[in-house]
């Protein structure tokens, strides 16, 4: 098991290295000159040359890449002489816009995004799974067909639509909730939850619908397995049969998708954050793309890649826990 974990973590590091290389290559190959971006409006040729040197753009590309990786791993000093700036671990460079370290920008925005993703994930997992299981157990019934029709509807509504509708109805018409803004969990837990309840619900609605359909089909498949029949033949109560013998196997495909989805969302729920005006990673990304703030875009890309691969490793570890064949392989 320890060897398995070690193998997976080495794999994670390698994947991230490849992602770094690919994003780096994309930005290196882009026609726009980063120095020009950083230089601003009143730019002179000397200043550009100086910035090139400052930013290390005069060095060979592999050297630039090595510096970048080295910065992430242990921090680095950018520039030379008096203009040298220390960029601490993990160094993702400085934003052209604000000159702040990219890492700090990410850290500022991360709590909002994590709050949105975690709350929504818990909501949709609970709602999706229970709907799916109920549907699977009553396969073909009126209830099953109504639930599946409802999930199909929910799955086809885009977040910007449900989000704006929710804002209009709940905030503007009924005035049950204030317009969402981010309050730190540590400062005011109740306020945090109250402000996030709308984005959570809106985001979870879409995912819950998809998860309900997924868990229904997965559950139906598992309940038809001979070992579930064996469990019934032993005289186990239906609850035990469904939860202990059925759900355990039915969870596998759900967890796979869940890992991917949460990983992706942690890289920024762009639409949700925009609709509700929440300052998360998604908004940061939008800003950075609009203003060609390359270090920030690269930082966000790396962060997303990290979350996705990290959750993939978590999913693999989960497999090892639920499937003894993986553990002993």
């Amino acid at each position: 098991m320890a060897a398995y974990l070690a193998r997976r973590l080495v794999g994670l590091a390698l994947v991230l290295l490849v992602v770094c290389a690919v994003t780096f290559a994309i930005f290196y190959l882009l026609p726009s000159d980063p120095a020009l971006q950083a230089c601003g409006k009143s730019c002179t040729t000397e200043r550009i040359d100086m910035l090139h040197e400052q930013m290390g753009l005069d060095k060979p590309v592999w050297q630039q890449f090595a510096d970048y990786i080295g910065g992430i791993a242990g921090g680095r000093t950018i520039g030379t002489g008096e203009l040298a700036v220390r960029c601490d671990f993990p160094c993702l460079g400085f934003s052209y816009q604000t000159n702040r370290p990219v890492w700090d920008l990410l850290l500022d925005r991360l709590p909002t995004t994590v709050s949105i993703a975690a709350g929504a994930a818990i909501l949709w997992l609970l709602a999706g799974l229970s709907t799916g299981i109920v549907s699977a157990l009553r396969k073909g019934s009126f209830l099953d067909r109504s639930l599946m029709a409802a999930t199909l509807t929910a799955a086809s509504l885009p977040v910007f639509f449900t989000g704006l509708m929710a804002l209009y109805l709940v905030v503007q018409v009924a005035e049950w909730l204030p317009f969402p803004s981010y309050v730190a969990l540590a400062d005011d837990p109740a306020g945090w939850a109250q402000n996030l309840i709308l984005p959570w619900t809106v985001l979870a609605l879409l995912y819950a619908a998809l998860y309900a359909r997924l868990s229904r089909s997965s559950m139906i498949e598992t309940l038809a397995e001979p070992y579930v029949r064996t469990a019934r033949a032993k005289g186990l109560p239906e609850r035990t049969v469904v939860v202990k013998h059925g759900l355990r196997s039915a969870l596998t495909p759900i967890v796979t998708v869940f890992g991917m989805d949460v990983g992706t969302l942690l890289g920024g729920a762009i639409i949700t954050e925009s609709v509700f005006g929440l300052p998360g990673i998604g908004q940061l990304t939008m800003d950075a793309i609009n203003k060609s703030d390359q270090p920030v875009v690269m930082g966000v890309a790396l962060l997303s890649a990290f979350f996705i691969t990290f959750f993939n490793v978590l999913v693999d570890l989960f497999y090892a826990v639920i499937d003894p064949k993986v553990r002993y392989a």
Partner: protein, 320 residues
């Protein structure tokens, strides 16, 4: 009172597929009844009905296990019989065992449930059961998963699991079909031994007349959802009354038969249950039917051939 009494059993699936149509038989304590039939004969459907494991089908008639009615009984009542008074093993032991739980857990589970035993006591019981079914190093193997066992050993695990709560009835649905012959011999020997030791009644569902000849006291031959012939093993095999039974015995290649002469096959195929033939369901394939008898129009009644030996054939009535 017999341990198992089935009478007028009818199992219908949605779409008007009548898989079992009016089946009656009994099984005494400690005895073995072999139910023989081809695919679609209704033998497995019958076994699942006895266990109360049908979910989409409509079951009617009567099934009594030690006097307790299973048909139409509350789910909870049937559930308390399952695993405790009657247990079942299946054709494919690998897919019938949960891949993610240890065999120890799977054996102990039912024992804890039915006897309210502690985890520790159930573990001891599980190890005892593994030893009883001939698995070496039972205590160590409790922690192993099904995929770590061979096919024959898995079927032993299934048997250990089925017998953990000391049931009186074991239903074995093609328990050796997926196994190699030499392993089949081991499993049949094991079932016979356990039966002697604990006085178990066995309902052996199989397509293999050889297996039935080896272990059954009584034989029930099923064809297209109904009983064709039933009786003690020796008269059924040696003085078969139903043309279908005779046909089966004749068409079987056997180790002690004449290898040179061609086999005598039964022509045609078993009928579809969606649209079974009128009259005797075997009549389209029957070589002995005559126009004087109502084979094509009337379902034959159950006729006594000799003490305890019955067959459903018009010929029997005519020859009386």
């Amino acid at each position: 009172m017999s341990l198992l009494e089935v009478s007028g059993l009818r199992v219908t699936f949605p779409g008007d597929v009548c898989a079992v149509d009016g089946l009656s038989f009994t099984l005494e304590r400690g005895k073995t009844l072999g139910i023989v039939g081809e695919s679609g004969s209704g033998k497995s459907v019958t076994s699942l009905a006895i266990m109360g494991l049908h979910r989409d089908a409509t079951v009617s008639g009567s099934i009594r296990v030690d006097g307790i009615q299973v048909v139409g009984a509350p789910q909870d009542q049937v559930r308390r019989l399952r695993g405790r008074r009657m247990a079942m093993i299946f054709q494919d032991p690998l897919s019938s065992l949960h891949p993610a739980y240890t065999v120890g857990e799977q054996i102990a589970e039912a024992y804890r449930l039915h006897f309210g035993a502690s985890r520790k006591a159930a573990r001891v019981r599980a190890a005892d059961m593994l030893a009883q079914v001939g698995i070496p190093e039972p205590r160590r193997r409790l922690a192993d998963y099904p995929h770590q066992f061979s096919g024959g050993m898995r079927q032993r695990v299934m048997i250990a699991m089925a017998l953990a709560c000391e049931p009186e009835l074991l239903i074995a649905d093609e328990p050796t079909t997926a196994l190699d012959v030499t392993v089949q011999a081991q499993i049949l020997e094991l079932i016979a031994r356990l039966q002697q030791e604990i006085g178990l009644a066995v309902l052996m569902i199989t397509h293999d007349l050889g297996v039935v000849a080896r272990i059954a006291d009584e034989v029930l031959i099923m064809y297209a959802g109904a009983a064709a012939e039933q009786g003690p093993a020796i008269p059924v095999f040696t003085r078969a009354q139903h043309p279908y039974t005779r046909g089966l015995l004749n068409c079987l290649p056997r180790l002690d038969g004449d290898a040179q002469s061609p086999l005598i096959p039964i022509q045609g195929s078993p009928p579809s249950l969606l649209n079974p033939p009128a009259g005797c369901r075997f009549h389209p394939r029957c070589t002995e039917r005559t126009s004087e008898l109502p084979c094509a129009t009337e379902r034959p009644a159950w006729r006594i051939a000799s003490r305890g030996h019955h067959a459903a054939c018009h010929l029997l009535e005519a020859n009386r």
